[in-house]
Amino acid sequence: MTDPVLSVRNLTVEIPTRRGVLRPVDGVSYDIAAGEILGVVGESGAGKSMTGNAVIGLLDPPARITGGEIHLLGERIDQLKGEALRKIRGKKIGMIFQDPLTSLNPLLKVGEQLTETILAHLPVSQSDAEARALAALEEVGIPAATQRLNSYPHEFSGGMRQRVVIALALCAEPSLVIADEPTTALDVSVQAQIIALLKRLCRERGTAVMLVTHDMGVIAEAADRVAVMYAGRLAELAPVQQVVQAPQHPYTDGLMGSTPLASLGQKRLRQIPGSMPRLTALPDGCAFHPRCQRATDRCRSNPGPTLAACNGRAACWHPLTDEDRAAREATA
């Protein structure tokens, strides 16, 4: 395998607060290769968006990176500041936000927003930039793109706006795209189109994608590999088929069991008892143990399990085996 586009090692993000230091991202490591889509899943507050923001250097203070390294195309980027950071944003890392209704400046024409982005990164003339803007709109499947360049964002529907957002994120041909819940704010009927579009564009260009979502359906549809996050830590990291069909971490298992996926063909949904602990009150040991039926004393004591300390795939002292799953199927 060639060098990964993005390599995150032991990333830790901290927020100092009155009641102590919170760690919304705690020792997370993963790679994304060119043309690969890594799905990052977890409940809200699990630290998945925060991870994406840390990579592109858009953490809102007082949140900040306090540990670990981020490498993009072999270059360390987590300590970049100012102009150096700006040159990476948009040029090497594109970002797609959740809500296309609010991601576009309402007072600037779509064409203006595209050309200014192109001009900020590529050494081209104004007319070249306009031509590229047009091509970018056509590429994301916006009909009558020539006229649409002169439209304001409010003249587009939600799905079309998200296409514009994708065009904006990709117009300087970045090597990595971070898509933060790109379909959550859209109609169900449009979601699949947007995911298909994102998938196609990235496959064609060999762009690495970090797809942050809480929707297992989107993951199953688009991702090559999946990183499951729980309370700021990686719970499981594996190819999508394995995560969906043979999850090893009890949390992943619970997540799958509670997701209505046609492809899984399961008989009835299960639920995970309890809720994710708040970052202010994390339990000792494995953060999942209070909700885990398999928990033992080892799970309740420090240090908690990490991917590296366990089998490299699930951060669990007692990962589920095929027999465990078979036994459950039998009793169900």
Partner: protein
């Protein structure tokens, strides 16, 4: 859009009619001008003669119609106190107030927007923090105290600038201006700062709040995530969005400058309309009060109207939504 403009003009007319009614009611029901003009020693004959002279002996509808008719022609009757036509008094005092308001407004807008943007962008810098603290003092400081402090420093202690009046003015026949003489310009400085400071602080704080709000928006994050230069993010993306709500308030602030001129004119004995109005209140000089009310209403209503129409020029969402409201 045309329908909207017509509706707004119509609404403005209604506001003016309401204000007109208030002004007329003041004439009819408030106080007895005879009391005010003749004092304690008066005879019934005096009273009757004066009533007839002022038209107060006529029935209500006649007075009302005559009031409206006269008001439209700019005729607001005769000042109870000075015995001269109100229109004449106001016309000779208006240039003083308008010139003062113009300079103050210019001062307030320029510094208000500039400092507002500065304090929003350098949110935690010491300069921005100092300006913000000072601005709170500025908001709490009553206008008249600002004037007094300025007079004390620049007139009493330093003796640089005059403490009252307009200085030498040039009479252009229909207008008297202080812009053309050195003493006239010097006389404008302190009153303009006094009058404009409060509005400047308000505009500055508003611009700052709006700008901070805009800087938090997703599209600003997205603009940053696309690697746009700070200058482009701040001035191309943020400032334009900031100015949309700021325009309304700024427009209204310009209107209130005329009203607040009352205070400044009192402090600096500035021979304008505001000083006239405050004297009218002290002496219950109803025709002057009513005329001032009508004039200032017309101005406010016009400003409101212009501000509303300016929205169309700035916000493309309104332009389209009104004409073709389809999804």
């Amino acid at each position: 859009m045309l329908a909207y403009v017509i509706r707004r003009v119509f609404q403005s007319l209604i506001v003016l009619l309401v204000v007109g009614l208030v002004a007329f009611s003041m004439f009819t029901f408030v106080g007895d001008p005879i009391d005010n003009m003749l004092g304690q020693e008066r005879t019934d004959a005096d009273i009757a003669r004066l009533r007839a002279q002022l038209g107060l002996d006529q029935p209500f509808p006649v007075q009302y119609l005559r009031f409206l008719e006269n008001a439209i022609q700019g005729n607001f009757g005769v000042s109870y106190r000075q015995g001269r036509p109100v229109a004449e008094i106001i016309a000779e005092r208006a240039p003083a107030t308008l010139e003062l308001a113009f300079v103050s407004g210019l001062f307030a807008i320029t510094f208000g927007i500039g400092l507002g943007v500065f304090t929003a962008l350098r949110r935690n810098g010491w300069a921005a923090n100092t300006i913000m603290t000072l601005s709170l003092v500025g908001v709490s400081l009553p206008t008249f105290l600002i004037g007094i402090v300025l007079i004390y420093i620049f007139s009493v202690e330093l003796n640089w600038l005059p403490s009252f009046g307009r200085g030498e003015v040039v009479d252009l026949g229909w207008w008297t201006t202080g812009f053309l003489t050195a003493s006239g310009l010097k006389a404008l400085i302190l009153p303009s700062i006094t009058l404009g400071l409060y509005q400047m602080t308000l505009i500055m704080r508003l611009v700052r709040t709006e700008m901070l709000e805009v800087l938090r928006q997703d599209y600003i994050r997205f603009a940053r995530a696309r690697g746009l230069k700070d200058r482009a993010v701040h001035f191309r993306h943020a400032l334009k969005n900031t100015l949309v709500p700021v325009i309304t308030v700024t427009g209204l602030q310009l209107g209130s400058i005329i009203a607040f001129a009352i205070i400044t004119e009192t402090v600096f004995q500035w021979p304008g309309v505001g000083l006239l109005f405050i004297n009218a209140i002290q002496f219950v000089d109803i025709p002057v009060m009513a005329a001032y009310l009508m004039l200032i209403s017309v101005m406010f209503v016009m400003i409101n109207l212009i501000v509303d129409l300016l929205y169309f020029a700035i916000d493309p969402r309104l332009r389209v939504d009104r004409t073709a409201a389809k999804g």
